[in-house]
């Protein structure tokens, strides 16, 4: 046999394999599908039925990238996502042609005045510039986008000293004064990886006039990396301030309160997305996390859904008084509004006792979380736009509004939404997912699996390698500064010289039929509901 013959035989074998292998594979899958008992579709339509499971699997990605229109995605649409990313990358919020908001839908609008304030007339403090980096586009075509980042001195858009918000002004030895209205909501180290927390810390530290809430997972070195102002959250499991047996450790608390970066403490009674205790798998409780939280490494943690330290308003207030007394710094509580009677009970007790928290963080039911149950996330707790005005009104009714600052949160990721919350009564606003997106989150919605593809909500070393702290922290800074600038734009349009002066009268609600109504209508409705309940 010559060389040609060998080649011919090789070719025949090759072609045979090319045909036989797929056939064999098909037969194998056919039999496998036919014999399994889990899926009816596969039993009736072996192999072909797989198309359903494949498309179902890649459906969310397809919808997000190809089929959802810009305003459709949940919890954040592509447009909202891009608004955040652009603010972070370019420190810009300009759009062209016009809004894509659905103006037929119901929603809140900001009432502009006939003669807005001039830029020159705004009460803003732009004395100390911020040295950051922004991206500049060099050109864009179908397959490439050329950009480079360059250093830039930007205006910080701080509040003037006289407009700065002060927590615990009359109650604390060391009140917390903040010159910006937007801070980072509670996100624990462990829920987010060290790279994400470090980037956030450095970005917020660079921006100034903002704060970082540690989440209930305790204070880590990563939180301190950029020396931002920190609000340390204390959850029912007392991470970071507990004794080995689980009791509250006044000694640890005192140590924490003596740290310069920590400006205030927040007791977490509930979170918008979950009115349950946290859960951390044993395998995620590494040596480092155990050390920060003051728990045993390798052991699964199931937090209780209420503090053991107190079970009613008076005992909670006593606990708060003691915390403030020992720490000398403001103490607040984080709550979700549901039952207005319980709220009224607490607010009236503030009046009666002269005690109580220095600030109340109201988390809207639409708030985010790393992990919760569907039933709690979807239907427990009021959304922020209903909860906030009610609390504000309640505090005013009992004449204690001055002593309590309100921090609002719940999808307040752009200046307009923040301004509406301020008009509804918020003194300050917390943002969580906006900051996650500015450090690289792509909304893959797998925070609970430790498999975050962007390396944000994961402690997996390999995935975190993708997140460059040095690149991302500027985006965090730009995002928050850009939001502050936007607030000044809106304040000017509303005819006020500082965003701290937003009031109820500056917003209006429009329903599907174009009828407009003032915010007071929500309050009347809330009162009516409460009366009917008492009935």
């Amino acid at each position: 046999m010559g060389l040609t013959d060998y080649l011919v035989i090789a070719l025949i074998i090759f072609i045979a394999l090319l045909v036989l292998i797929p056939i064999a594979l098909f037969v194998y899958l056919y039999i496998k599908d036919d014999r399994q008992k889990q899926h009816a579709i596969l039993r009736n339509f072996p192999v072909l039925g797989k198309a359903r499971y494949i498309t179902e699997k890649i459906g969310p990605e397809l919808r997000q990238y190809l089929f959802h229109n810009d305003n459709e995605g949940k919890p954040f649409s592509r447009k909202e996502y891009q608004d955040i990313v652009k603010a972070g990358k370019y420190n810009e919020r300009l759009i062209g042609f016009g809004s894509t908001r659905d103006f037929n839908a119901e929603g809140f609008y900001i009432r502009n005045t006939l003669f807005p304030k001039l830029r020159d007339e705004m009460k803003v403090d732009n004395i100390e510039k911020i040295k950051t980096r922004v991206y500049k586009s060099d050109g864009e075509n179908l397959f490439t986008r050329k950009e480079h980042s360059e250093e830039r001195l930007i205006d910080p858009y701080f509040l003037r000293d006289e407009d700065a918000v002060i927590m615990g002004e009359r109650t604390c030895r060391q009140p917390f004064k903040v010159k910006g209205l937007i801070g980072q909501s509670a996100m624990s180290f462990g829920a987010l990886g060290e790279n994400a927390i470090t980037a956030l810390s450095k970005g917020l530290g660079l921006a100034g006039g903002t704060w970082m809430n540690t989440g209930e997972g305790g204070l880590s070195q990563h939180h301190l990396a950029g020396k931002p102002d920190i609000i340390m959250q204390i959850g029912p499991d007392l991470f970071g301030v507990r004794k080995p047996n689980g009791d509250f450790s006044w000694e640890e608390f005192k140590k924490k309160s003596e740290m310069e970066e920590i400006k205030a403490f927040e007791l977490k009674l509930a979170q918008g997305a979950k009115t349950r205790g946290g859960h951390v798998e044993g395998e995620k409780v590494t040596e480092e996390i155990a050390k920060i939280r003051l728990v045993e490494p390798g052991k699964t943690i199931n937090s209780p859904n209420r503090f053991y330290e107190f079970d009613d308003v008076p005992s909670m207030f006593d606990f708060i008084e003691k915390l403030r007394d020992v720490g000398g710094k403001p103490v607040g509580i984080k709550i979700v509004i549901g039952d207005l009677d319980a709220l009224e009970n607490m607010v009236s007790y503030i009046k009666e006792s002269g005690k109580g928290p220095d600030f109340i963080t109201i988390d809207g039911g639409e708030g985010g979380t790393g992990a919760t149950f569907q039933e709690l996330a979807d239907s427990v707790g009021l959304p922020i736009q209903s909860a906030l005005p009610v609390v504000d009104e309640m505090l005013k009714k009992y004449d204690v509004r001055e002593r309590v600052k309100l921090i609002a949160s719940g999808k307040l990721i752009t200046p307009d939404k923040i301004a509406i919350a301020l008009a509804m009564g918020a003194d300050l606003v917390n943002v969580a997912r906006g900051f996650m997106i500015s450090v690289g989150c792509i909304m893959a919605q797998v925070c609970h699996t430790n498999n975050c593809p962007a390396g944000v909500a994961t402690t997996n070393k390999k995935l975190q390698d993708g997140l460059s702290i040095e690149e991302k922290y500027f985006r965090v800074c730009n995002y928050v500064v850009s939001q502050r600038e936007g607030l000044y734009n809106l304040a000017a349009a509303a005819g006020i010289d500082s965003p701290t002066k937003f009031e109820r009268k500056h917003i209006v609600h429009k329903d599907e039929l174009g009828r407009i109504s003032p915010l007071e209508d929500i309050l009347h409705a809330a009162k009516r509901t409460q009366l009917q309940k008492e009935g």
Binding site: I127, E150, R152, L153, I154
Partner: protein
């Protein structure tokens, strides 16, 4: 030395005030509106006042030097600035002469001399004060920065009689440093020059004029 800064509320002005303050100069900042005064003082001005053509005289009395910043601020309406601009400079120069203020530093713009072509309205008439200054009885320096950008200052510049490069730019912080360095640097006396970012230290560049 006591320095009076015109156009202090502009984007270069705030850097000028900060740097003058750091070098312990006594300063009077002239803004255009009442509510800028607080900002000007926060920026480091010893004193601040609103621009008033009638009172320029008396304002200049106690000062030995003037830094005049033409308000080529991107935030203002360009047409308007041009018109106000050269009249104000002329007025300031005349008053400076009258009061015996010896030092006058003007921040103009690169290619200000091209405006006579007539097409570029936004630089229009900027050369008039430059010429006027050269004739006046003051020790002048006209500094013409290229495109101003918000980058952090690097402390190094390129200095030339004429910079004809469209992509030339300079950080506002650097321009401020050049203006202040020129105050007492004799090499810059009675000279007009363009400046953009480069790689010679500011002091060295000015001294080698």
């Amino acid at each position: 030395m006591n320095v009076l800064v015109f156009g202090a509320h502009g984007s270069v002005g705030e850097h000028v005030l900060k740097k003058l303050n750091q070098k312990n100069y006594k300063t009077m900042a002239i803004g255009s509106k009442e509510n800028q005064l607080e900002d000007l003082k926060k920026d480091g001005a010893t004193d601040a006042a609103v621009y008033d053509e009638q009172q320029n005289d008396s304002l200049l009395q106690n000062y030995e030097a003037v830094i005049f910043l033409t308000d080529i601020n991107t935030k203002s309406d360009t047409d308007k600035t041009v018109l106000v601009d050269h009249r104000a400079v002329i007025n300031a120069v005349e008053n400076a002469e009258k009061q015996g203020v010896k030092r006058f530093i003007l921040m103009s713009a690169v290619r200000a001399n091209e405006s006579s072509d007539g097409t570029k309205r936004n630089i229009g008439a900027k050369e008039i004060p430059d010429e006027l200054l050269q004739k006046a009885d003051v020790t002048y320096t006209v500094i013409r920065p290229s495109k101003l950008v918000d980058k952090p200052g690097q402390g190094t510049i390129l200095l030339d009689a004429m910079i004809n490069n469209d992509s030339a730019e300079i950080a506002r912080e650097d321009v401020a440093a050049v203006l202040i360095e020129a105050l007492e640097n004799e090499a810059t006396f009675n000279k007009t020059f363009d400046v953009s970012s480069g790689n010679v230290s500011i002091q060295q560049a000015l001294s080698s004029l």
